[in-house]
């Protein structure tokens, strides 16, 4: 899991004077990363974020969040209140998404869009470009160990084997074709 901290310098300590659009610096990942986008750093002391639309940029569904009118302390964490002073909850929390690089290209470039509506009527449109590189055996598998194997009796002694990555303990069921 990797974290990307989204910040809006224009907003720290001052109210927005107009709607803004910001493109952040590109971040490069290798393999199929699970990325945690941390929006808690966006200052809400002057105006509260009402809604948040996230376009992950990889053709998955656009996600939509809105601020709870009533914050339910029975079910929700108070960490954001304690750590960041966001009283009564916030939509600017942490959002996770897993990207998978496309099969056909070496490099995939895409950008994540966060559209935040504030209660003073202004919005912030934030773009976070992401560059995905192909996975490497040495990065995302490292070494395959054999968990167990079995010959398939009905076939011409083909074998299946459960292999496990030493890197992330992911199990791969593989088919060893003898012919």
């Amino acid at each position: 899991m990797s974290n990307i901290f989204i910040k809006l310098p224009a907003l720290s300590g001052t109210a927005l004077q107009s709607s803004i659009s910001a493109t952040l610096e590109e971040v490069t990942f290798k393999g199929a990363p699970s990325i945690m986008f941390v929006l808690t750093g966006i200052d809400e002391s002057k105006s509260k974020a009402l809604t948040l639309d996230i376009n992950w940029g990889d053709n998955s569904n656009i996600e939509y969040y809105q601020r709870d009118v009533v914050y339910d302390y029975r079910e929700q964490s108070i960490l954001n209140e304690v750590l960041y002073g966001k009283i009564g909850g916030s939509v600017l929390e942490e959002y996770e998404h897993t990207y998978t690089p496309t099969l056909s290209t070496q490099v995939t470039s895409l950008s994540v869009q966060f559209l935040i509506y504030f209660n003073d009527g202004f919005f912030a449109n934030i773009f976070q470009p992401i560059r995905l590189l192909k996975e490497s055996y040495y990065d995302s598998i490292e070494k395959l160990g054999i968990l167990n194997t079995q010959m398939i009796g009905t076939s011409a002694s083909n074998t299946i084997a459960n292999l496990q990555s030493r890197f992330n303990r992911r199990t791969y069921t593989t088919f060893f074709d003898k012919d």
Binding site: A15, S19, G31, A32, K46, S47, K48, L50, T51, N61, Y64, Q66, R67, D68, V69, V70, D72, R74, E75, G88, T100, P101, L103, Y117, N119, D120, G121, K134, E135, S136, Y137, S140, I141, L147, N148, T149, Q150, I152, G153, T154, S157, T159, I160, N162, Q164, N168, R169, R170, T171, Y172, T173, T174, F175, F176, D177, K178, D179
Partner: protein, 1118 residues
């Protein structure tokens, strides 16, 4: 890929996982590595706890995770739109009426089929069911919605037009387009925010400003506007929060594990208790592949859930350790599965795979009604010492009660001398004041020199020391007086569970409850007989049938009565407890249970019944039953002016000439006389349950209190439309506690805000909001008219006309259509040549079935008076012997149903208590506790009604929980009789220990139908809360429970019973035998062959194999 190491393998492939259900997709992705080969990553197999291949199957135990992390449901996506119908309300401050959006025509705004105006007004401004208050919220997605109104013909959508902040307006325009095409904000599309509590906020971008739908006060009233959002703050106040009739209930992704609790109080149905259920839980899953079906490009994958919620001994219960649970509450995750053992034989393996798991909690099984001794485990990881209130026993199902006798108790061996130091320790028990509440464990101490142990067990303490108090020390002097009174006290428990400590747990059981009930000495605890009506030699007799049992169904032809009034009148307090099957769709009739006439207690439903018909002739009041049999004749000294009939069994008021007012009971006895000198020569009247308003010839309005018959002056007002138009009013109505003067006479109400009255030859329809309008005009003199629901019947001298209240003509007829049957010679005469006098309605129950029909008084051509009833146009009349038309006959209502129906309720179940001060007959206490059956699910409910005249309390408990408590002056009725008569169930009790049907001489009238009452208990005292609990619980089962104790980390194993698809040992023991082409059709021969096969098969079939079926199939021979 080939290499020198894998000569026997020509390729290695990573097949794609496939799940059989096309709506479920496995979370996986292909990736081409930099090194050039392609691998398939299946999320479920990442970080798997264990993987094994055995028995032709590849197994993987997943990590603890949500199933939705591994599988996706494609059916969840799609149309996000939803719609619901609701009122749109704005809550107002205390004492003000809530405001609602409403479609109405004000300020000349035009309402057409193309557009409708929007306004704001409270609900009582029109009937709250008026369609104009209802809107359909059409939520297009999580962001946008439209507000629709349907007037029965067209759809209208709320539009806000305006490009700047000023100058916009709200109009509903007719529209028919498809919501699916809308993707962005438009004039009729708003952004919205809807919270869990049912508050909606509407937003709209105007120009570049985000605005919110807000109510604004202007000099002419309240109007909606779109107001800019405040730069700071939450923008949440009562002018922009719209209250709707729904809560936001998001659909949970149903793929994940859930732990469901049902609402325990509604035992007759399965309603989820969402507060106590847990959704979207983590779990562990076994993903499996049958490897015979794997190919180089795909493999079928299936899964099953592992039982992570089972405890050590396979109980499913609340209360796991506190390590894994969210929010620090006891949860349901008891097991962590770690690995899988399938035996050493890789091909065959074990028939039943073995799973190893870790758990932390020890189970202690407790049987109800017993004492269980056990020792705490040697490790109580993660605790070293655990207070009983921090344990999970309450969540495990420990029973909380009002006293130690009716609750679970626990005794923990004293480890050191500082424990249980206060006074004399009695026990630690789970104290809870209501069945809905979870209790807390408290220690009870008592003073053995002041109170016995048994007495200390069965009472509830009122002194509650804090946790740290040592009552023996500092507080004792302060609390001396309290201790002398209470003699014992409770303190939040000090009991703590430590490793290896000895514990005794005392679980309440059925015997404990029975003991409490047995020692409670009820007057009545079961039925011993019921009474039914039977015709004996032409006379109907009440027959008493012996019946012993605890449950009786009252089916409209039987009732029972208990002779308890003497004992209760001695004790001046009583308790009634029973279970009743409550079905909100059933109308049970008038009085279900009790003996409430002008004193006593009764449970009523339809209080609008009219058992009596009153006919007035000069000085005489004739009281008939609805078959026109004369029950009573009451003579007055002066001429009768008015008879005011109240609810069926209440006394009524008779006004006679000379300003004399009598109170007359239902048996026709004059019980009070008052000279009403405060009321002078009145014209019109208006009756309510406890008062009558009069308007006098001097235009003054006065009010008579019906209980005391005292008269007071009353201020009144005029309707705006009649101001300065009328010089003289002769009628009066009371609406929302305001008295209005009116013209006309014979006021009849259609509903809460519409009434009709007669002015010369007109009938006026008067809606309080819209004002009066001329409704009907007659060329002949209007004799009388009356309204039932939306039907209005008008009488002229010899004709009747029926319209609905929207003035649509339905039917008419003449007096000649009414027949008089003559039974002796079996012919009929017509009432032709007579004249109508008055009309009214009867509402009655016969064998529990409701009947409503008109009753008409007319004078025959023979100058005799006739009463007719039936259904229009078929009416039959009966002569009233000795009754003749007088001046005052037509002035009086026959049943007064229209007023009674307005004043009293016919759906709610009312527990009504009437107490009378015997030193002062005017001092009457009426208390009613009501509930609407529609708010209950069908099922048996336990009701306890308790009257405590010493403390001045009357309380209703439903299912052991206090529903409502009403108070009156303590001790006042300790010297009064409470009941006058026997206590009836299933019929209406009347005076002198008669039931109403017997008095009316109408057998089976006002019997209750479909009424099931079981376990009737009547006490001649106010029983304690403990006894109320106990009676409610006596029909319930007390469960055995399994306590959870922290027991350190331990491991265990479980087996899975699994049918391997390709296991060679696995075949069915049942076989079918097919006999082919014998060409036998004779079933007898076939049966003989079957018998022979069955007999011989035993000799050669393998042991354990059974024949399932023998069939005959013939091919080629039809």
């Amino acid at each position: 890929m080939s290499s020198s190491y894998t000569k026997s393998v020509s390729s290695i492939s990573f097949p794609t996982g496939e799940y059989d259900d096309r709506f479920v997709t496995l979370d996986q992705y292909d990736s081409v590595l930099e090194q050039g080969f392609q691998v398939n990553n299946i999320t479920a197999l990442s970080g798997a706890k264990d993987s094994k291949i055995n028995n032709y199957t590849s197994f993987h135990i997943t990590n603890k995770s949500k199933l939705s992390d591994f599988l996706q449901l494609s059916s969840i996506a799609g149309d996000e739109s939803t719609s619901f119908v609701t009122k749109l309300g704005f809550q107002r401050a205390l004492g003000e009426l809530d405001q609602y959006l409403y479609i109405f025509n004000s300020d000349g705004e035009v309402a057409t089929n193309q557009q409708k105006p929007l306004g704001v007004r409270p609900l009582n401004a029109a009937n709250s069911f008026s369609n104009n208050y209802f809107f359909e919220i059409e939520a297009l997605n999580n962001n946008l919605l439209r507000i629709k109104h349907n007037n029965g013909i067209f759809d209208f959508y709320l539009n806000y037009s305006g490009v700047s902040l000023s100058g916009g307006e709200f109009v509903f325009y007719q529209n028919t387009d498809n919501y699916k095409e809308i993707t962005q904000e438009r004039n009729d599309v708003f952004r919205y925010n809807l919270d869990d509590d049912g508050y909606l906020q509407l937003f709209k971008t105007i120009g570049t400003t985000l605005t919110i739908f807000t109510l604004s006060s202007i000099p002419t009233g309240i109007v909606p506007i779109m107001a800019p959002l405040q730069p700071s703050g939450l923008n949440r106040d009562f002018n922009n929060l719209i209250n709707i009739d729904y809560n936001l209930d998001t659909n949970k992704q149903f793929l994940n594990n859930s732990f469901i609790s049902y609402s325990s109080k509604n035992a007759s149905n399965l309603t989820l208790n969402t507060q106590r259920s847990s959704f979207d839980d983590n779990g562990q899953y076994m993903f499996i592949t049958n490897y015979n079906t794997i190919s180089s490009d795909k493999m079928p994958i299936n899964y099953f859930a592992l039982d992570t919620s089972r405890s050590e001994f396979n109980f499913i219960k609340r209360g796991s350790n506190l390590i894994d649970t969210p929010y620090g509450l006891p949860g349901y995750e008891n097991r962590d599965y770690n690995n899988l053992y399938l035996g050493n034989d890789q091909e065959g393996g074990l028939t039943n795979p073995i799973l190893n798991y870790t758990f932390y909690n020890k189970d202690v099984f407790i049987t109800n009604g017993t004492d269980t001794y056990f020792q705490a485990p040697s490790s109580t990881y993660p605790y070293t010492k655990l207070n009983i209130n921090d344990s999970t026993f309450v969540n495990n199902g420990a029973f909380a009660g009002p006293t130690p006798q009716l609750s679970d108790k626990i005794f923990i061996k004293r480890q050191n001398s500082t424990q249980y130091d206060n006074g004399r320790y009695l026990c630690t028990w789970l104290s809870g004041s209501s069945l809905e509440e979870t209790g807390i464990w408290v220690d009870r101490y008592y003073y053995p020199d002041k109170i016995t142990k048994t007495a200390a067990l069965s009472s509830s303490a009122r002194y509650a020391p804090a946790l740290n108090d040592s009552v023996d020390g500092v507080d004792l002097s302060v609390a001396d007086a309290v201790l002398a009174r209470e003699k014992f006290f409770d303190k939040k428990s000090d009991a703590a569970i430590e490793p290896n400590i000895d514990i005794k747990y005392q679980r309440i059981g059925g015997a404990d409850i029975t003991e409490i009930i047995d020692s409670s000495a009820p007057l009545i605890s079961s039925y011993d007989s019921y009474i039914t009506s039977k015709i004996v030699r032409g006379e109907s007799e009440n027959i008493c049938v012996d019946y012993t049992g605890k449950e009786l169904t009252f089916n409209g032809s039987n009732y029972t009565s208990f002779n308890v009034q003497d004992a209760i009148n001695d004790s001046k307090s009583f308790t009634l407890n029973f279970d009743m099957y409550l079905d909100p769709t059933v109308n049970y009739g008038f009085e279900l249970i009790g003996n409430n006439t002008n004193r006593g207690f009764g449970i009523f439903q339809d209080q609008t019944v009219t058992p009596f018909i009153h006919v007035v002739g000069d000085y005489t009041l004739y009281i008939y039953n609805t078959d026109f049999v004369l029950l009573n004749k009451v003579e007055f000294k002066t001429k009768i002016k008015h008879v005011f009939k109240r609810s069926a069994l209440d006394d009524y008021i008779v006004a006679t000439a000379g300003n004399i007012y009598y109170k007359v009971n239902t048996q026709g006895n004059k019980i009070k006389l008052e000279c009403g000198s405060g009321i002078l020569d009145y014209y019109g009247t208006h009756m309510e349950h406890d008062h009558i308003d009069f308007i006098s010839s001097d235009q003054k309005t006065t009010r008579m209190n019906i209980n005391t018959m005292s008269v007071s002056a009353l201020s009144s007002t005029e309707f705006d439309v009649y101001k300065d138009e009328m010089c003289l009013y002769d009628n009066v109505v009371d609406y929302n506690d305001t008295v209005y003067k009116l013209p006309g006479s014979k006021t009849k109400w259609e509903n809460n805000n519409t009434f009709f009255y007669k002015v010369s030859n007109f009938i006026v329809k008067h809606n309080i909001d819209f004002g009066p309008q001329s409704f009907l005009k007659s060329n002949d003199q209007i004799v009388d008219f009356n309204i039932l629901n939306d039907t209005i019947v008008t009488l002229t001298t010899d004709k009747y006309f029926i319209h609905n209240t929207s003035a649509v003509f339905l039917l008419s007829g003449s007096i000649g259509d009414i027949n008089i049957p003559i039974p002796f010679n079996d012919t009929t005469f017509s009432l032709s040549g007579g004249a109508f006098t008055s009309i009214d309605w009867v509402n009655e129950y016969i064998e529990g079935i409701q009947y409503q029909y008109p009753v008409i008084l007319a004078e025959g051509s023979d100058k005799n008076m006739y009463l007719a009833k039936g259904l229009f146009p078929t009416l039959t009349a009966t002569a009233l012997s000795g009754v003749y038309l007088c001046d005052n006959t037509s002035q009086n209502n026959l049943t007064n149903y229209n007023a009674i129906n307005r004043i009293y309720n016919n759906t709610s179940i009312d527990f009504k208590l009437s107490l009378r001060n015997y030193l002062d007959t005017e001092d009457v206490l009426n208390q009613t506790i009501s509930f609407q059956p529609s708010s209950f699910e069908p099922g048996f409910y336990n009701f306890t009604y308790r009257l405590d005249s010493l403390q001045g309390n009357s309380s209703l408990y439903i299912n052991g929980d206090l529903y409502e408590n009403q108070t009156f002056q303590p001790g006042k009725y300790l010297i009064q009789d409470i009941f006058s008569d026997q206590f009836f169930i299933g019929s209406t009790g009347f005076q002198s220990n008669l039931d109403l049907a017997t008095y009316l001489r109408q057998p089976k009238y006002y019997y209750s139908k479909d009424l099931i009452v079981r376990n009737p208990f009547i006490y001649d005292r106010a029983i304690s809360t403990e006894e109320i609990f106990a009676i409610y619980l006596s029909t319930k089962d007390i469960d055995d429970i399994t306590l959870s104790l922290p027991g350190g980390q331990r491991t265990s194993k479980t087996e899975i019973q699994q049918f391997f698809k390709f296991n060679r040992n696995n075949s069915s023991n049942l076989i079918d035998i097919v006999v082919r082409d014998l060409n036998l059709t004779n079933s007898i021969v076939r049966d003989q062959i079957k018998t022979s096969i069955l007999a011989e098969a035993k000799q050669f079939l393998p042991v354990g194999t059974k024949i399932n079926n023998i069939t005959f199939i013939d091919h080629g021979n039809s």
